[in-house]
């Protein structure tokens, strides 16, 4: 009943799997009611949120004239994009303000969007569609200055370079927590998140040893990708010395510890990310981020509780 309390339903679509989270929004607080590892149909009155993979999204920085109405700005962006990329299909466009007076414009083809939806058998249009890595970043505290956020997600990971609240660059990296999880599961028979939640010292020790053995490989990938991201930032000429810090966003505490304690090049700049919302063992950070974004449609979100 959508009179005083609203529902937010998020669908986390990854690798053919759909995770549904249903939460009640009341007075700025989101209260999670249910979590299903499958698709659950939502009410037409609910706010539905899905995540979008980066392979169908394109991103560009544009100089747009300042307009009062959002619609006009999007129209101007659309014209620019069509001109630059020579596109004639229907596009979905969204702008966010960025540094130096420019706008960061995300766009994707409508046909790609609908194809993505139908590949998961979703036949309704959701209220909000939010890109993958940025969903995790929504619930991470942003520090002033130039920071590099390394987001290790379960299915996709990425690096986002930000200047305060403005995004300077986004780069996907070929690493996911599920790969590490797979290795741990092969060796111990349990998933890394199960091991962390169980509190079983022996298992945790085992998992730590396994993760330590692959830490350097992980760090190698991360280090390389961070350098590439910094160098490919077009908006600002950045170098590693100009970066104020590198923030690691990761759900698994074992992997976080392993990375933070290992010795590598920019260890001095590396730190753990601070989350603005309390994480829950059953939900991934991406799902929390999507819930937060869904709640923002209804008003301020002060907390998310189970």
């Amino acid at each position: 009943m959508g009179i005083f309390s609203y529902r937010v339903v998020t669908y986390n679509l990854n690798d053919g799997q759909i995770n549904t989270t249903i939460a009640n929004y009341r007075g700025g607080k989101l209260r999670i009611k249910n979590y299903y590892p499958q698709f659950v149909l939502a009410d037409p009155e609910d706010i539905t949120v899905i995540n979008i993979p980066w392979d169908i999204i394109q991103m560009t920085f544009l100089e747009l004239p300042p307009t009062k109405k959002e619609r006009d700005r999007i129209r101007a962006a659309e014209l620019e994009i069509r001109r630059i990329y020579n596109l004639s299909e229907d596009l979905i466009i969204s702008c966010i303000p960025s540094a130096f007076g420019k706008c960061l414009v995300f766009f994707l083809k409508k046909s790609d969007f609908f194809r993505f939806l139908s590949s998961y058998n979703i036949d309704f249009i959701p209220d909000v569609a939010y890109p993958n890595i940025l969903a995790e970043l929504l619930i991470v505290k942003k520090f002033p200055g130039r920071w590099v956020y390394v987001v290790l997600g379960e299915h996709t990971s990425g690096i986002v370079i930000m200047n305060r609240e403005h995004i300077l660059n986004v780069r996907m990296i070929d690493l996911s927590l599920n790969e590490i999880n797979h290795i741990v599961k092969e060796e111990t028979g349990f998933e890394i998140f199960e091991i962390e939640n169980s509190g079983n010292e022996e298992l945790i020790g085992q998992a730590k040893k396994i993760v330590d053995s692959i830490t350097y490989d992980i760090l190698g990938i991360i280090g390389r990708e961070v350098i590439i991201s910094i160098n490919t930032t077009e908006q600002e000429k950045l170098s590693i010395e100009m970066v104020d810090g590198i923030s690691l966003v990761c759900r698994s505490s074992i992997i976080k510890e392993a990375i933070l304690s290992a010795e590598f090049d920019f260890k001095s700049k590396l730190s753990e990310a601070i989350l603005t919302l309390r994480p829950h063992p059953q939900l991934s950070l991406a799902e929390l981020g999507l819930l937060y974004r869904g709640g923002l449609e209804l008003g301020k979100v002060k907390s998310i509780t189970w």
């Binding site: 959508g2 009155e45 899905i50 979905i92 969007f113 249009i125 959701p126 209220d127 909000v128 923002l296």
Partner: protein
Amino acid sequence: MEKLNLSPGKKRVLKFSTFLVILVISLSPAISFLSASYFIKERKVSKLLISYPEVFNNISSPNLKNLDIQVESLLSSLKNRETQLRMANNEIKKYIIEAYKSTYFLRYFFSYVSNSENSYFLTNTIYDGERFYLDFYEYGVETRISTSTIYKDLARFYSDVLVSLLEERNFLGNIKYFHYVWEGKK
């Protein structure tokens, strides 16, 4: 970053049931106010009806518009009935008094003479509705008829009362007879 939305968006809809609930909630103050005022009005009216049964049992039509006129007519009709009853009452009283007066002289005579030890012989009684005439003989040593007393008593109800001793004669030994006539006008 929070404003980013890569969905073409869908229209926010309201379920029909939600709409009905909102409608009921928004109408409920008005409905409750109306029903409360109706009940208060009914209570006041019934209190009024109970406290004045004489008026409301006799008012014919439930049309409350001409209530004051109806009450006026009811009042005047009741006044008329009152005068009628009063008149009837007076008539009956008069009739009773008349009837009483018609027989009073005779009853008085009988009660008077029964208290006396003399013998009496009533020869004539005439009453035509207006005047009465009593003619009797009293036999005794001396008369027990006190003219003044009888005059006084009969004058209470009758006018032109005449108590006259017509004749006094010796009868037997020391017994005399006295011939009295009592007359009067109603």
